[in-house]
């Protein structure tokens, strides 16, 4: 397998004004992430809000430059790629279909916009192409001249997917694509994404906080905590045998619609740490039920566990 996209030591920090007379503080939203995206896979990225998954998505899309580290696309440094060249290869689908479509453009013009930017084809040809893609994602042609405000949430998300597909990219970065939708619509969009992947051989980065959805769609999952990847494994391995205590807690907190099981106890305690002031050592140690002395001082590295990678001293034989 060949890595399509590769992130090496990617960090991204933001300066945060804490107050008029206080020192500016630095927020490390993404803090040293190494990831390789294989062709044809669905890489799920999960974690709680503030874990840096959306920032990572923006870096992969080339919308935010990383503070340090590199992203390579097909061996080429993302920095050196022009935004327009990158656009042919990576496209986004965002969470909120109400803000991701320009309300003043018609559906056909939204879908054809990438072609227009890249000056591909004639106006009539672009419209034909847009209608083709709309058909592919299950949007009837009569929507072509409507405005986003006239469509339902699920239909709008289909428009966003159509826009992402029209340039025939290799990679689609989906940032919580179904979390603003109702469950019955969510399943339609998930089915559509899976169909498109089979038909067009797409590669997805699928960011979500819904672990049930990630298990269904992803082939490999990265769990993020405070800007770091703490576990990375094939989906089945990760869900069957989580190695990091945080992954275990996340899996425990999934509420499947099965009556009589009650609400699980995650044992995490309350405090999600202040990302401006992350804990020493392993960032997860204040919430970890299995933390021991070394966790407070030494940050664990992402180690190979044989069936994946985990950043926890419990999987490190040297402890």
């Amino acid at each position: 397998m060949t890595a399509l996209m590769q992130a090496e030591g990617v960090t991204r920090s933001f300066n945060v004004n804490a107050g008029m007379f206080r020192r500016k503080r630095t927020l490390h939203a993404v803090n040293g992430v190494d990831l390789a995206l294989e062709k044809g896979e669905v890489l799920g990225i999960v974690g709680e809000s503030g874990c840096g998954k959306s920032t990572l998505a923006r870096i992969l899309l080339g919308l935010l430059p990383p503070s340090t580290g590199t992203i390579r696309f097909g061996g080429e440094d993302l920095h050196l790629l022009k935004r327009r060249d990158l656009a042919r290869q990576v496209q986004p689908v965002f969470q909120d279909p109400y803000s991701s479509l320009n309300p003043r453009r018609t559906i056909a013009s939204i879908v054809a916009f990438p072609l227009e930017v890249h000056k591909i084809g004639s106006p009539a040809g672009r419209r034909r192409k847009a209608l083709e893609i709309m058909d592919l994602v299950g949007l009837p042609a009569r929507f072509a001249d409507r405005y986003p405000g006239e469509l339902s949430g699920g239909q709008r998300q289909r428009v966003a997917i159509a826009r992402a597909l029209v340039m025939k990219p290799d990679v689609i970065v989906c940032d919580e694509p179904t979390s603003a939708l109702d469950v019955s619509v969510q399943s339609q969009i998930l089915n559509l994404l899976l169909d498109l992947r089979n038909e067009l051989g797409l590669t997805y980065v699928f960011i979500s906080h819904n672990l049930g959805v990630v298990e269904h769609i992803a082939t490999r999952v990265a769990v993020m905590y405070l800007g770091r990847v703490v576990e990375l494994a094939e989906t089945q391995t990760l869900f069957a045998n989580p190695r990091h205590p945080y992954t275990r807690a996340l899996l425990d907190s999934i509420l499947t619609p099965e009556p009589g099981l009650g609400v699980p106890e995650t044992g995490l305690g309350l405090a999600f740490p202040d990302p401006l002031n992350p804990p020493s050592g392993c960032a997860f140690h204040p919430r970890c039920p299995l933390a021991f002395e070394a966790c407070r001082s030494v940050a664990p590295k992402l180690l190979d566990t044989g069936k994946g990678r985990a950043a926890c001293h419990l999987v490190d034989p040297s402890f």
Binding site: L61, Q95, N102, R163
Partner: protein, 297 residues
């Protein structure tokens, strides 16, 4: 229709055009305001055809003739004559040209300056934003009326001078409103989507952001046009605006002020027209804003 179909919601939705028409004409203030505005604009445009006399021709034998509905008035001078015997109706028609010209050109000049600054500040943020904010605060520290008076006093009053002075002074509200509207639009995902597609920055600003901040722009533009018309009238009233014998409404009020106790119509007629014009612009602006309001979409 028998209710045997399985369909529950087959009632045809109205077409987009029908809905747009309903929204447009459902707006009483817009219909009233734009109707009135259109009327004034037509009058201004066809002033040479509609005028019964040369607006500059003096006739000292017929000074301060009252309008036709007074006992002493006649249909020869529908709205009477002023203190120099010029036909008041014709002067009023030509005066509409001056007011509209000033309102429109000041709006365009200040609109271009303010919108450009606001869009740049809102889109780029950071240092660009700091610079624009600084310019706006500096501009706000200067009282429009005083600066305009000072400039006119130095270079002399004429139509182009008034337009330029007001145009370069009144961009602040455009900049402030456009800046915050752009900031809001900038944060939305469709801008990120356009960036991800590789669209250039000018294309994003002009093609994606500008159409979405247009409603705010229209509202500010109407307010500013109305306020420019009033400012011109004030300057002309003070004798530092449009110079005689040009028939500006403000100047007409100024010239009439000595006669207001004897020939009340001289001040009432241009005053009413000024109020009507400003009201029409504001009503139209309000109506347009309601139509473009995002909740209507």
């Amino acid at each position: 229709m028998t209710d045997t179909s399985l369909s529950l919601d087959l009632a045809m939705e109205p077409t987009a055009g029908a809905r747009m028409r309903k929204r447009l004409f459902g707006q009483k203030s817009l219909v009233l305001g734009s109707g009135l505005l259109l009327l004034i604009m037509l009058v201004a445009l066809f002033a040479p055809l509609l005028a019964t006399h040369d607006p500059y021709a003096q006739d000292l034998a017929h000074r301060t003739v009252p309008p036709f509905w007074y006992a002493k008035g006649s249909l020869e001078h529908i709205l009477g004559t002023d203190n120099l015997g010029r036909d008041y109706f014709s002067r009023l028609l030509y005066g509409a040209r001056i007011s509209l010209l000033i309102g429109l050109s000041v709006m365009v000049i200040s609109g271009i300056i303010g919108t450009t600054l606001g869009l740049l500040a809102g889109y780029f943020g950071g240092k660009a934003d700091l610079l624009v904010t600084f310019l706006v605060t500096t501009r706000l520290a200067m009282p429009v009326m005083l600066v305009a008076l000072a400039v006119v006093a130095m270079v002399g009053g004429s139509l182009p001078v008034i337009v330029l002075v007001l145009g370069f002074l009144k961009w602040d509200r455009f900049a402030v409103v456009m800046r915050s509207a752009t900031q809001q639009a900038r944060a939305l995902d469709y801008v990120a989507a356009a960036e991800a597609v590789g669209a250039s920055t000018p294309r994003i600003i002009l093609g994606e952001i500008l159409p979405n901040v247009l409603p705010q722009l229209i509202v500010v533009a109407t307010l500013e046009a109305a306020s420019a018309i009033l400012l011109e009238a004030s300057l002309s009233f003070l004798g530092l605006g449009v110079q005689p014998p040009l028939p500006s409404w403000g100047l007409m009020i100024s010239e009439a002020k000595n006669y207001m106790f004897f020939s009340f119509w001289l001040i009432a007629i241009p005053g009413t027209m000024l109020a009507l014009l400003v009201l029409a612009i504001n009503l139209a602006g309000d109506g347009l804003r309601d139509i473009f309001a995002p909740e209507g979409r």
